[in-house]
Amino acid sequence: MADTAADSATHTGGDPSRRDFIHIAAIAAAGGGALAALWPFVAQMNPSADTLALASVEFDLTKVEPGQQVTINWRGKPLFVRNRTPAEIDRAVKDDNAPLPDPQADAERHKPGKPQWLVLVGSCTHLGCVPTFGGGDYGGWFCPCHGSHYDTSGRIRKGPAPTNLVVPEYEFLSDTTVKIG
């Protein structure tokens, strides 16, 4: 088989190692095309349309009595919808200026004019267990996994959780219906 060491001297015609514009253009077009072709393969990993369809859930509030809490499945996670009693609301507002690991006023955690309705993602911000209401030292939620205490506004008071229980994006479609997500 022929030896091709140091072959460039035998080339006749155009020296291919000179960076012609046309070659740069071709390589650039190939690169651009490859990236464009790659995009659908990346995008397909985003949630598909049927998953997105279940991204929002509408909930009828008339089923929840004062002092009662309903847990619904939202985006695969538990969601707390709580109808707070005036006592719970007062307790939450009173602690607005207490030393809080994640400071937040109670008013920021509910819709204006509707302090009794608290909508929270029921997933402890430590490692994701589901807290239960009524345990703990602050009258709110308590997470049994590692002992995080939340108050009646869902704010973290004591324990390893770093942040307050998450308030998801939601809106009132009417006084009795709320759309979450």
């Binding site: 022929a2 030896d3 091709t4 071709a26 397909q44 598909s48 349309a49 049927d50």
Partner: protein, 439 residues
């Protein structure tokens, strides 16, 4: 081509890497500085096209597997979920389904090229056999892949082909039962086909690596069939072959894109959009187009077992081709008689493809008087299949060996670079394609 390497690592990192794992050296020697015959024509770009198609099928397949459910109750609906709900799912699905057809178009052209230019002859026998292995693996992969959507054709095609294997005496029933995982094609069959369909392409990739290795040991064949004798006969792979292959790939992509975007279901069968029903057989079970010639050969033989053997033998004969064709001249450019028989062979393959799509007892030329022979009308597709099958086998087993002995070839040029002799009178016709698609 085991000549010494010309790779010179330039940076500290590349020098460091080169002494520990000379992978950049391997890449350089195989695809940059690799001496390629300068006279390769466009038929030779299909190897690169095939590599690209393998990567396309692998990536699209792996992505589809993220969304597909391989159970009998969910498979059909999951494919529709991909088509409707998954972002760009419709695109990836059509890319994968049409990609299989494109893969076969390319492989048939690639194989026919090798038959014509004698690329299976010494010293490339192992290269050719590895290619035949790749082809077999492709057929298995494609067959199992077609079962996955669990449409009527998927299901009943699986029934027919798995039942065929039951034709073998003694082991037949065991093989079929183990393939089925039960008493018939059902959920266990689908699940194991999915697993194997995911596995086989990686085996194909491995054999492709061996195939390219074997190629680089002997060097490429070329249209004259004459080995490169000096540096004047070759050019470095990059940029010469790279850019030519790139152009070939781009042209191929135009055809591919045309099918994906404008005729996405043309190469398939409408019946496969009917969910599988074990109790209802489609009026007309047809495999995918790339299997049609073999289906025709199978049905040409009236006996079930002999038909199966004939079908497998039609691929098996390829494996021993290097020892059947004894001609000293590689390229059919210089073998006018062989060239003629080769063209007839290509036409016969196309005819076999048509026969495979038809009902065996339908008339070829409608309306003619029936002449019965051996239980079927002479003017029927089954008889045409028989004649075509006879030629198919005769080409390998009779014609090529005999031609190797008696043929008077044209004078073969001394070297590739000899301009006067490397383009005999038929040269302009090199660019005009004979029907190259098999099936």
């Amino acid at each position: 081509m085991s000549g010494h390497s010309t790779y010179q690592p330039k940076t500290g990192f590349t020098r460091w890497l080169d002494t520990r794992l000379p992978i950049l050296r391997l890449g350089h020697d195989s695809f940059i500085d690799y001496p390629t015959p300068r006279n390769l024509n466009y038929w030779y770009t299909f190897g690169a096209i095939l590599s690209v198609m393998l990567v396309v099928q692998l990536i699209s397949g792996i992505v589809l597997a993220m969304h597909y459910t391989p159970t009998a109750t969910e498979a059909f609906a999951s494919v529709e979920h991909i088509m409707r709900d998954v972002n760009y799912g419709w695109l990836i699905r059509y890319v994968h389904a049409n990609g299989a057809s494109m893969f076969f178009i390319a492989v048939y052209i690639h194989m026919l090229k090798s038959l014509y230019y004698g690329s299976y002859k010494a010293p490339r026998e192992v290269l050719w056999i590895l290619g035949c292995v790749i082809y077999l693996l492709m057929m298995a992969t494609a067959f199992m892949g077609y079962v996955l959507p669990w449409g009527q054709m998927s299901f009943h095609g699986a029934v027919v082909i798995t039942n065929l294997l039951g034709a073998f005496p003694i082991v037949g029933e065991t093989i079929t039962t183990m393939l089925w995982g039960g008493y018939a094609v059902d959920n266990p069959t689908l699940q194991r086909f999915f697993s194997l369909h995911y596995l086989f392409p990686f085996m194909i990739a491995g054999v492709v690596a061996l195939h390219i290795w074997a190629l680089h040991v002997t060097g490429q064949n070329n249209p004259t069939g004459v080995d490169p004798k000096s540096k004047a006969d070759t050019l470095p792979f990059t940029p010469y072959a790279t850019v030519k292959d790139g152009f070939g790939i781009a042209l191929f992509m135009i055809m591919y894109a045309f099918f994906v975007f404008y005729l996405p279901n043309a190469l398939g069968h409408a019946d496969n959009y009917i969910p599988a029903n074990p109790l209802v057989t489609p009026a007309h079970i047809v495999p995918e187009w790339y299997f049609l010639p073999f289906y025709a050969i199978l049905r040409a033989v009236p006996d079930k077992l002999l038909g199966v053997i004939a079908m497998f033998a039609s691929i098996g004969v390829l494996f021993v081709l290097p020892w059947l064709d004894r001609s000293k001249v590689r390229s059919m450019r210089y073998r006018p008689m062989a060239k003629l028989y080769f063209l007839v062979f290509v036409v016969v393959c196309v005819i076999l493809g048509f026969c495979g799509a038809k009902l065996p007892d339908d008339q070829v030329i409608p309306g003619l008087q029936t002449i019965s022979l051996g239980g079927s009308d002479l003017n029927s597709w089954v008889w045409l299949s028989r004649v075509a099958t006879l030629y198919y086998f005769a080409y390998f087993v009779v014609i090529l060996p005999v031609l190797g002995l008696i043929e008077k070839p044209l004078p073969v040029p001394d070297t590739i670079a000899t301009p006067a002799l490397s383009h005999p009178a038929a040269a302009p016709a090199e660019a005009v394609a004979a029907p190259e698609q098999k099936g």
